[in-house]
């Protein structure tokens, strides 16, 4: 039973290695990798149900009991994210199958995506801080490769910046880990939580936690997002969609885990800093979203706004704020993948990513237009779509705790999201049709199916909030009561 826990990481790795030998068979690779991701998704769904009924599941590798070995810990929060990430990856892979060039398909694209999701799932599940670093690196190395596949000059240029930034942030991660190990003498997260609670969070520990905050902010794009727009808007569509949906979420998960489990004793320092950073992220992202005429850059800045929004929940740290953030993370993974796929399809059809080069697409491709419309409403948080519930919970939590500045910025940023996407909708889908019915590029058969699946998913998440509620409540409860997590990991040892 517990052994199932290793599959979300193990299955993509094994399948990825096998696919390396099938390099020339693009379509076969696609089907095998989609199959692997569907299996991973169903395993995660089963695990989510198990966690709900039996509490937190733990898997000790090699039979080394905590705090000595590396372990995987599955609580509702991590399994929910694993489930969503695997599902989004399956959908993005099906988009790749339908629309990507043969060249990309036979250049190890699918194995790399599988290694990426292995790193992402591993980061969500691990209960050991050094193992988190290793999973981060698995994910990052795959993302470097994905960013450079496609061979345009712009990609290589952006890749050099992205790789350099991430090497430096990984260096900070190791420095923080070294000092933390020197201070606490353990790497198991639950054990760290116990020791920090025992000795109290000294100024030294708070300083270390701020170094961690810098690291995870770089990965999540919280305030330190200067590298994000360039690297998210240069690679092929599918890669952008995967990046926008998955990469920042891993940093966000790490922030939530570390600052709710280990360093929660001095919120007046750490959570205040997180709140200020989230506020500045909201402002910067909002300005970026309305400043550009390139639709891929606008989409990238929308990622930044969402990051700030989710971290508002961590800064407030009340039960309903955390719940709102978790709802919002799940919604954002779906909606961002959808946004990037739709925008990428628009760029492919019109051959430019400038707003001025598109007009009246609605006449040519009505289904694409209405998909974009629903994406826009979902991201702006209009009921009954998936973004609404997260926003309402976060806003009410912000009112209850009296953080009016964060509340105002969060709601204003929603307006900026709406405005930036409305501008695209108005300029690109309405207006004079510049391409006549005869000259328009045909939409490839089935290209919209992944987008429509995601549209259905965002509607389903909005309408099915009731069914999700118990899992989300459970996840928030575990995050806010570190003792539940600690007992599940170290229970039979203490």
């Amino acid at each position: 039973m517990n052994s199932l826990l290793v599959f979300p990481m193990l299955l993509p790795i094994i399948v990825g290695v096998l696919l390396i030998f099938l390099r020339t068979y693009g379509r076969l690779q696609a089907w095998v990798s989609i199959g692997a991701m569907v299996i991973t998704t169903s395993i995660s769904g089963f695990l989510l149900h198990q966690v709900q009924t039996n509490g937190i599941i733990r898997l000790d590798f090699g039979g080394w009991e905590p705090p000595f070995g590396i372990l995987f810990v599955a609580d509702s929060f991590s399994v929910l994210l694993v489930l969503t990430a695997s599902l989004i990856t399956a959908i993005c892979l099906s988009y790749a199958l339908i629309s990507t060039s043969k060249e990309l398909q036979t250049m190890y694209f699918y194995p790399t995506v599988l290694f990426l999701i292995a790193g992402v799932n591993g980061s969500f599940l691990t209960g050991d801080l050094f193992n988190l670093f290793v999973c981060f690196e698995v994910m990052l190395l795959s993302s470097y490769v994905l960013l450079t596949l496609g061979n345009s000059k712009r990609q290589l240029r952006e890749a050099i910046k992205y790789v350099s930034i991430n090497i430096v942030s990984s260096w900070f991660f190791l420095v923080a880990l070294a000092f933390l190990y020197g201070t606490l003498g353990t790497l198991n997260m639950a054990h760290m939580a116990v020791r920090v609670a025992e000795v109290g969070q000294t100024p030294l520990l708070t300083t270390i936690s701020i170094v961690f905050l810098i690291v995870f902010s770089l990965k999540a794009g919280l305030l330190l997002y200067f590298w994000l727009p360039g690297s998210y808007s240069s690679p092929p569509i599918v890669t952008s969609a995967l990046f926008g949906a998955l990469l920042t979420k891993v940093g966000i998960y790490a922030l939530f885990r570390v600052f709710s489990l280990i360093f929660y004793h001095q919120p007046e320092v750490t959570h205040t800093i997180i709140g200020v950073m989230a506020a500045l992220t909201l402002i910067g992202g909002s300005l970026g979203a309305i400043a550009f005429n390139d639709i891929r850059s606008i989409a990238a800045y929308n990622v930044v706004i969402a990051v700030g929004f989710m971290l508002v929940g961590l800064a407030i740290s009340t039960p309903s704020a955390i719940e709102g953030s978790i709802y919002y993370v799940i919604h954002d993974m779906v909606a961002k993948a959808l946004l990037f796929l739709v925008i990428g399809t628009m760029v492919t059809l019109s051959g430019t990513s400038k707003m001025a080069g598109m007009s009246g697409l609605m006449k040519n491709y009505p289904l694409l237009g209405w998909s974009f419309f629903i994406t826009m409403l979902s991201l702006a948080g209009i009921p009954p779509l998936s973004g609404f519930i997260g926003k309402i919970l976060l806003s009410s939590a912000a009112i209850d705790s009296g953080s009016y500045v964060l509340l105002a910025l969060a709601l204003l940023s929603s307006l900026f999201v709406l405005y930036s996407l409305l501008r695209i909708f108005k300029n690109c889908f309405w207006g004079e049709t510049i391409v006549s019915k005869e000259e328009q590029l045909p939409l490839r058969r089935g290209v919209l199916i992944p987008c429509l699946v995601l549209v259905a998913l965002t509607i389903a998440l909005g309408l099915g909030t009731e069914y999700m509620a118990p899992y989300i409540t459970n996840a928030a409860e575990t995050l806010l009561n570190p003792d539940i997590y600690v007992d599940a990991v170290l229970g039979n040892i203490q």
């Binding site: 050094f130 670093f133 290793v134 690196e137 190395l141 470097y144 490769v145 450079t148 061979n151 000059k153 712009r154 290589l156 240029r157 890749a159 050099i160 790789v163 350099s164 090497i167 430096v168 990984s170 260096w171 190791l174 420095v175 880990l177 070294a178 000092f179 190990y181 020197g182 790497l187 390139d294």
Partner: protein, 112 residues
């Protein structure tokens, strides 16, 4: 012993930061390699140096050295090796495509 190592870590980090801040891609890559060496030494010094014998079953001693930092460094070395290899290839390809190894000239424009 530890204080010497810590000074060495500081010197290495200084050198690495000087290199990372230069305009030449190859220098930046060498800088990142030295950065990772510095942090490996830092991790090593966190496990206390030379306080006892090796942690093996046959050794009869009162104190043993913490072996965990060495395991961490081993992992970190492999990762930094892979990343350095990748970024070297990336820099070479970028030099072929863009015709420059100067980061200032790689800035490019918004409209490509």
């Amino acid at each position: 012993m530890e204080s010497m190592i810590i000074v060495l870590v500081g010197v290495l980090t200084t050198v690495a930061i000087y290199l990372v801040l230069s305009k030449n891609v190859v220098r930046v890559i060498l800088g990142t390699a030295i950065l990772s060496h510095a942090v490996h030494l830092l991790i090593l010094s966190m496990g206390d140096l030379k306080i006892g014998t090796v942690p093996l079953l046959g050794e009869e001693a009162s104190t043993y050295v913490d072996a965990l930092p060495q395991a961490l460094i081993l992992t970190a070395i492999v990762i930094s090796f892979a990343v350095t290899a990748f970024i070297l290839v990336l820099a070479y390809r970028a030099y072929q495509e863009l015709g420059t190894d100067d980061l200032g000239a790689m800035r490019g424009s918004q409209d490509e």
